[in-house]
Subunit: 458 residues, 4 copies
């Protein structure tokens, strides 16, 4: 029974990718847990804590498809213990004495936290890869539309001209910082957990720290140095980085959503996407994927918030925060990963209507260029006086710069000789600084890309 729509047959594609769902799939997770138990047995065998034959037997049996999961689930419920059901099912297929040597001296979090780190390694590598794909697409947009003038808008209102490349460069700038965060945080995230009951590895006497070192090496995670059973900033930070990434993607999606309004018409999601937008209004073309980026970011935020609250844990284990992570952290990963894929799809075929951009600028003319007119008037009138006069002149019912000049004359400003009358300047040219900024962002990003690994951890 699938009670979560996010896993439903009809809608799972909106809330997960196949690739990420495979990371968090129940069977895959249980297999990973078994693999961790194998690594543990191998490490214990290497230290002489269990016989090598037991480690071999454990390794041989550790295949999820061999377990009776119905029995494991029933035992999970009857013991109210998070891993004992699985262990009981595993023991059933283990020979003596391996049966007694599996899961020796460790506890739930040793398995689940180590698995989480392994899952984050997969998630991080997907996010790194997809972010770099998106960065590449965005850099291409920045270069292609470097000089494609369009209306810059503030508070929802047309302001001065920018270029679409400049807008894309702003996205690229933000994306690069996310890549930097992903790279920097990997040391915090990719660590194993071997803590035992309360973190002190008391079960293993003098062998505790050595066992952990070997165990971590076998699962290819760093040794944490100290148990982190209730020290959860590591996972919170990962969730936060993904939440900010989702925020950036929602920002990009928001631009497409708003600029796809036919009244504006400057951007459009790729044709073919959102195939049937409305079944009662056949003419509709909805920016459904762009819109969905916002939905995903909201839910990521909600779960990242739960992660942050879950940092405040009590004593040496605290199920209140820890079980919160069980739900919230995979959710953050699945939804962010979906957002990355949707963004790739949108940007790969983004329709950029430079003619409409130019037309929208032209419609505004006079108005849109008011910053430059102001600059031209400033030497003559002073900036603030010019601003006030223009503000009064440029009422919504008002007009173009020439009318401003007339207004100024009407206001008794005489001796105004504009060698380069403001309205005469080509109205649509983007500001040169915007182009320089595009170049700078692209240059930095391309240099960083050339110098970095295209796989993560880097």
């Amino acid at each position: 029974m699938v009670s979560r729509i996010a896993d439903s047959e009809m809608y799972a594609h909106l809330w997960g990718t196949e690739e990420l769902r495979a990371v968090f799939d129940e069977k895959a997770r249980l297999q990973a847990w078994l693999d961790i138990l194998v690594a543990l047995a191998r490490a214990q065998s290497a230290l002489g804590l269990i016989p090598p034959e037991s480690a071999d037997a454990i390794a041989e049996a550790a295949h999820v498809e061999r377990l009776d999961l119905t029995y494991a689930a029933a035992e999970t419920r009857s013991t109210s213990h998070s891993t004992l059901g699985l262990i009981h099912a595993f023991q059933r297929i283990l020979p003596e004495p391996a049966r007694e040597h599996v899961y020796l001296g460790v506890t739930v979090q040793d398995i689940t936290d180590t698995w989480t780190a392994l899952a984050l390694r997969q998630v991080g590598s997907i996010v790194w890869r997809d972010l770099r794909i998106i960065e590449s697409l965005v850099l291409d947009l920045a270069e292609t539309y470097r000089t494609a003038a369009m209306v810059g808008r503030t508070h929802g209102q047309p302001g001065a001209p920018i270029t679409f490349g400049f807008k894309a460069a702003s996205w690229a700038d933000e994306l690069r910082r996310h890549l930097d965060r992903l790279r920097h945080g990997q040391d915090h995230w990719l660590v194993g957990q071997l803590a035992g009951s309360v973190g002190g590895l008391g079960f293993f006497g003098d062998h505790g720290v050595g066992l952990r070192r070997d165990f971590c090496a076998r699962v290819a995670l760093a040794d944490p140095g100290i148990s982190w059973l209730t020290s959860r900033d590591r996972l919170v930070e990962f969730a936060q980085v993904l939440a900010t990434i989702s925020g950036t993607l929602a920002r990009i999606g928001g631009e497409v959503y708003e600029l796809q309004r036919p009244e504006i018409g400057e951007l459009r999601e790729p044709a073919g996407m959102g195939a049937v937008s409305s079944i009662t209004m056949p003419h509709k073309r909805n920016p459904e994927r762009s819109e969905h980026l916002d939905t995903l970011a909201r839910l990521v935020r909600a779960n990242a918030g739960a992660m942050l609250e879950a940092m405040v844990q009590q004593h040496e284990r605290d199920g209140r925060g820890w079980k919160t992570e069980w739900i919230a952290l995979p959710e953050v990963c699945l939804l962010t990963g979906t957002a990355l894929q949707f963004t790739i799809e949108i940007l790969s075929g983004l329709e950029v209507d430079t003619e409409r951009m130019a037309a929208n600028l032209a419609i505004q003319s006079g108005f849109i260029n008011s910053e430059r007119v102001l600059a031209a008037l400033t030497p003559h009138l002073g900036k603030h006086r010019a601003q006030e006069l223009m503000h009064d002149a440029l009422q919504p019912s008002g007009g173009a710069p020439r009318q401003v000049i007339a207004a100024l004359a009407g206001a008794g400003i005489d001796g105004l000789e504009l060698a380069d009358p403001p309205g005469a300047a080509p109205p649509l040219a983007p500001p040169p600084a915007a182009l320089t900024m595009v170049d700078e962002v692209v240059r930095r990003a391309r240099a960083a890309r050339a110098a970095e690994s295209d796989t993560w951890p880097t």
Copy 2:
């Protein structure tokens, strides 16, 4: 593939009840959608919009097990439309011309919002029922332990005596307000949706409002009077009420969790629950269900927060907030329902150790009774002066009231003749007002229970 642990075979019982999972189960939801399509067809037939034969054919075919859900899912993905996949699969098993008469003139939200209201009717009835069971258990605790004296604690520190019945009465008082909220809100929540493309029911010409009236009657929901496509306070309010209920349950769970510390030892979850608490520390008895109430409340809050944000919707339909509801609202329902069941289990067998309660009071003696000693000294010394003297005397290394009296004498207070020397008062008697409050809460609740329906909507 089940990527959400909340639906996993091993752990689904921690994040849902069978009963609630059946409400939100994919098949059940699709069947409910089909039933809504039937109600719509019947209503359209009654108005002459489609032939009665088509309504009959639609009703006859509307069984989810007859649909090819794999095809429906594929069509959902290829059309990027939320219901068209289902409709295509439905049309495949409908005869002509019913095929053209199904889902006539309506849109996704007509189906999904109406379904949501129907689901909330089921959820609300479960919550109402379980809340009343919990109230009953809590009222019994309040009566049984009306005079069972225990330490009242503030800021985690022992203060003056209360009784366990008083503590339970505080829970009962809060629970009753939730029942009041559930009853009051039902008019806001149990309404149908028939809005068409943009809310104006334009497809139906002059028949729109009449069609909605009949449609709502057929699904046994109120007629909303106006479309509520982007007016989502209804659903937000439901989520908020459930979130506050979860908060109350987490408060109850928190008491059990803390008072089950063996250093305190006043409450314990029922024996047999949490059967195996630790596999490395065999002596452990963890308050796992009480603890989990806190986890559930956190996740409910996170999702209720997403619901609140989703109120701010744009124009006549806004997928950003609406799709957020798809995930967040069922989650609120499933998790709150789980918390209710866990609470019933805990309270049904709660172990109340009145001897330990008395012993904890006795250990504190002198200290714990300081409020009463203060009251006794007040006529002699004035309240604030007495407080200061007692505060100085009652250092942690200090002692019992007699030492306070000595300290007072040592402080030069003479002529102090205590007819009823404070330390002589029976130290453990609970304050009479606490007992009166228990009686009042129980009386009000029992009266309300007698007067109200035991089913919801009331």
Copy 3:
């Protein structure tokens, strides 16, 4: 030193109203606390717990301007106690023995919770009044623009026609539910607190409950029946209701913000508001107040979320949640109240450009009317087949209904005789159901308004 920008001289008007700031002003709050102490002394005197002369002396001295607040603040810091600083300062101006009779047997929360209820009475009455003003303005809009056809938009895209009155009616519908919530919740909120140390009123022996009854009557609040020191759902519910109100106002603001885009140009904030929108772009007219409604709603949500978390309190007093309320609840009130005022300002002078609305409809023509064309074709082709054909025909580069008909003919559909050819229908008429819905909402609201008190509590 004012470290919070919300109270800064320059910007306080954005984050509070004079009226609400006066409720939460430090001096006003301290005066209210003194008044509560007076009510307490009067009640204690009536029960013979303190002499009437002391009650008189306390009443006479209880004026905040008579207190040395610098001393009170210093004592607050040195005692680390929330009210003892104030009490010490108060005692300084009280004669013996009243000095010992002030604040007798009660604790911080008795004062602060009672004050909170009194503050909520003021806040609630402001919110009730302003909501009703807004409802009235919105009802007027609904009636005035009942038939003013405009584009209905879904997913940011033009859909079928609605009227601006219909949009306003949707707001009115939501506002009325808020009024219902405010009315219903008043019994939960307007209660006094007299609980003493741990809720049991132990200091007062047999007098506790009677004292509370009299005390509550004197402060004109209901008697709660039982102490609610850690039962905080009352305050959470108030915060939630205000948060949903803020959400509605943000939804209204969002419409103005987006429809004020000059590319759409259908609504505009009143002229004269947002006087200088940009000092480098003199032509700008920003929807600054509408925009700010969204900001306010976000911050209200954040604080309402903190309130919700603060429900889960421990034992008989829990400073962690309680002190959270100190910050979060006033913030919710101040910001919501500001949003109400801004909304009144916006709606009072809202510029509705019906010509532009009509023009935007006309631009879309053919497209916008696709729902009605579809309805007209449905009897001939079947609804779903018509939808598919229209969908293919109405590509963005496509055209008007006549082209649809041509497309249909081209698709081999013959025998199509449209008595009323779809494109010939007057394209801009709003759907009749929308008008009926406006009428229904207005009728219900006007009836409710006539029957209800215009002051709160009702």
Copy 4:
């Protein structure tokens, strides 16, 4: 009028430090804005955009105490513009033509974002300093109490032994990661903003990028390379790092709060703090500062959540998210800074009761050592069989390891010859791995401290 309790005379010390309040104080902020205007004028003068005399005049007049702030506030309100009121007040004291040369070509965010970065430089340096003080205190605790055995607790229940030094080392480990985050993030945060109207610096023609470079150098911030008007991940990240720091401090506070329960009695806030805990219960000693750390962390989280939401900004300026930052970011800083100070106070005088720790271990004996007994039995019985037998034997009413052995004998286990009978092992010795972990954490931290700057930015 101070409507926010956080700035009230009585309670400001709970919600801010003098040092941080001085950063966000209105006058200080306005002075910083003036200083930024001076830097701008100097940079513009250096490029020949304004005469040097104007820059000199601007610099000379730029003193907040010379401005008429009442006038500035009135102008702020009448213009509805965030900085124009200040500029008008500034112009009043500027000579011609400097009056026209101030604030030339820039907009609000140029001033406020640059100021924010400057404020974050101050805040970051305070946080860095205080975090390192706390780390030092915690390292001292880890070393001092390296071998001080105490009960490790999971799910609120006593488990196996740890040491208090081990608990402190877990805190230290977490604190060090925060220092790493602070160091790494500085490049993201300490950047100036010079963007003009829409980010393209159009006012300045070809001079834009050069002007920004010089301006940033003058305010000692990095040049961002591209405008970041709506690219707010920088500030969100800062808020997130502070929120996780607050979470760590709340975790530390939570330990003190719970372990200060007299029933446990292992830790206590410094004597003298929380001087008067209760005025009706004179014996109380409340962990008020520890408790408050949790309150602060909640409010920080709420505001950090608002910051995260505010990332999703529209077009080239979006007041909805940006104005949210105005409130939320300073709040995060002020509250986190307060938490740091409280933590320093608590840890500086933390009372660690090692005798009580030992006694609590002894009370548990038999139970608490169950992990080690289990380890000793494992070679004889197998781990899981031993666990089951011990679990049955160690009922709450059960007993010590010897009884376990008896139970095992009773269960028919014969041939059990324990060379080192489990109950004979010294029961309270902490596990050696715990001590090694303490050493490792201390070693790493001391090495990092020796290698790093004690000021920030590093």
